[in-house]
């Protein structure tokens, strides 16, 4: 395994994937004028800028809440995944 490969690492985790996205961008236009710290900081690589908008790969979310804190425009609506869904740490 390549050292520190993020996708391999996320693959080691246990998730119970929810069917709906618990992370929503409130106003997509705002992101165009932003440093997009969410994309830089997210430890699970959930956010990706595709040139037009943010692509949110919520399945890998580790539910740390960093994106919510770091968004300068408070533009991320951070809801909890439904009870019992999302990441389920086996070690923690």
């Amino acid at each position: 395994m390549e050292v520190g490969n993020l996708h391999e690492k996320l693959f080691a985790n246990r998730y119970r994937p929810d069917t709906s996205n618990h992370l929503q961008v409130k106003n997509g236009e705002q992101c165009q004028r932003c440093h997009r710290y969410c994309e830089t900081l997210c430890p699970a690589g959930v956010y990706r800028w595709d040139g037009i908008g943010l692509v949110i790969d919520y399945d890998g979310c580790l539910e740390c809440g960093t994106c919510r804190l770091v968004c300068p425009y408070d533009n991320i609506e951070w809801n909890l995944p439904r009870g019992g869904y999302g990441v389920s740490y086996r070690f923690g």
């Binding site: 830089t40 580790l62 009870g83």
Partner: protein, 430 residues
């Protein structure tokens, strides 16, 4: 839910479970609402748990609880590039008087939750708290995401952790600021037990805890850690969210630097990732704490910013504040008064314990490092350079080496600046 509870607790972490345990043991009707599949499913910490608060509660704690390794050695490493300058404390006194153990929170919290259920509390898992029930200003219960999901209670205790969403959603207090929160990531790396014991010199289930500071964080208030578990090691790092944003750095960038460091790499070689986690740590301390109580509610643990990052303390504050909240609820139920003035006893209790005095003592630490952004690069560099020069015998006189180190140091600081800076640090720690 038609039943009415004395205490409804949001979140089954160390603060919530302790509150639930103490309140139920005192005869109150308690509900603990946990969003994970099981308590611990969403709970992460580096892994070092101080055991004294639990020994007070459970006399046979060490035999019963799922603990990993007893910490017999604490180390601080100051890294600069490929160099390391390390300090360590070994103590046999910890053998008979255990201080800290590594734990896996998913396992530990399930064990603890069972204790809470055993004394009669109701544990409701897989359930999100989405809002608070109110009558005027008085908080009178919880709204969950279950159908028919209102839970009425005399007292609500918020222990929903560093990423708690209830308080800001219910307008009790705003979410924390990114200057007050650290983001940490961790890998649990599987290694055979005997390999760990050879590499870390930790026989017989003893363990080592290594904290690292230095050039990897590029001046941000950041740290890394390496802890031994029974058949894995935990490698992780973290830093203040706003400072990582300023540097446009992802915690995995730091982690990948650390794992390749020549002092770290041989210790983790061959380790297979069993789990990768991320979590916020409230580092803002005393100055960033929210109001601790209001009419019908209290807040404890990480949700109340009760952490001293410097000493890796947080679990002890969670337990102590959870217990203080329970004791306050017991008193309130005895007199049937759940108003703000009655629940103010919670703050008094925290003030009389170590919780608020200790948090107040370290109130300036996080701010100090924010104001001295190169502290954690300059000083590790200088100690490594000094050690290297003094320990290398190459025909140069020690006088000349000393002058070289001094010249190197003066590139960053005048003597006077250094004295002022270190005195300032001592003042914040005093």
């Amino acid at each position: 839910m038609d039943e009415k509870f004395d205490v409804a607790i949001v979140g089954g972490g160390l603060a919530g479970l302790t509150c639930g345990y103490c309140a139920a043991q005192a005869g109150l009707k308690v509900a603990v609402v946990e969003r994970g599949e099981y308590p611990g499913a969403k709970n992460v910490m580096g892994g070092v748990l101080y055991v004294q608060p639990f020994l007070d509660m459970f006399p046979d704690f060490l035999a019963q609880a799922p603990l990993e390794r007893k910490i017999m050695r604490e180390e601080y490493w100051f890294l600069d590039g490929d160099d390391a300058f390390t300090l360590s404390h070994h103590s046999q006194r910890w053998k008979d008087q255990p201080n800290a153990y590594t734990v896996m929170r998913a396992k530990f919290d399930q064990w603890y939750a069972q204790k809470v259920e055993d004394v009669g509390a109701l544990l409701i898992t897989e359930t999100n708290v989405v809002d608070l029930l109110r009558e005027g200003q008085q908080v009178v219960g919880l709204v969950t995401d279950r159908p028919d999901g209102e839970i009425r209670a005399e007292v609500v205790v918020l222990t929903d952790g560093a990423n708690g969403t209830v308080a800001s959603h219910a307008d009790l207090f705003p979410r924390p600021d990114p200057t007050d929160m650290a983001l940490a990531v961790k890998e649990v790396l599987e290694l055979p037990r005997e390999v760990i014991e050879q590499r870390f010199h930790t026989p017989d289930s003893s363990g080592a805890a290594i904290e690292m500071f230095g050039s990897f964080s590029d001046g941000a208030l950041g740290m890394a850690f390496l802890y031994t578990n029974v058949d894995s090691v935990s490698l992780g790092c973290g830093g203040i969210v706003s400072q990582m944003a300023e540097r446009a750095v992802n915690p995995n960038d730091w982690l990948n630097t650390i794992r390749r460091h020549p002092a770290v790499a041989p210790l983790i070689e061959g380790g297979r990732v069993k789990e990768y986690s991320a979590h916020l740590i409230p580092e803002g301390g005393y100055n960033a704490m929210p109001p601790l109580f209001g009419p019908g509610w209290m807040v404890a643990g990480d949700a109340a910013m009760m952490v001293i990052g410097l000493h890796r303390e947080g679990s002890n504050f969670a337990v102590a504040s959870g217990r203080a909240a329970a004791e306050t609820a017991v008193k309130a139920c005895a007199v049937g008064d759940y108003t703000l003035s009655q629940l103010a006893q919670y703050r008094t209790k925290l003030k009389q314990s170590f919780v608020l005095p200790d948090l107040a003592k370290y109130r300036a630490v996080t701010g100090y490092f924010a104001q001295h952004p190169d502290f954690l690069t300059v000083y590790p560099r200088v100690v490594n350079e000094f050690a290297h020069q003094i320990m290398t015998v190459d025909g140069t006189s020690k006088w000349e080496k000393q002058r070289a180190v001094s010249r190197e140091f003066r590139r960053y600081r005048t003597k006077w600046q250094a004295v002022r800076e270190l005195a300032g640090l001592l003042r914040t720690l005093r």
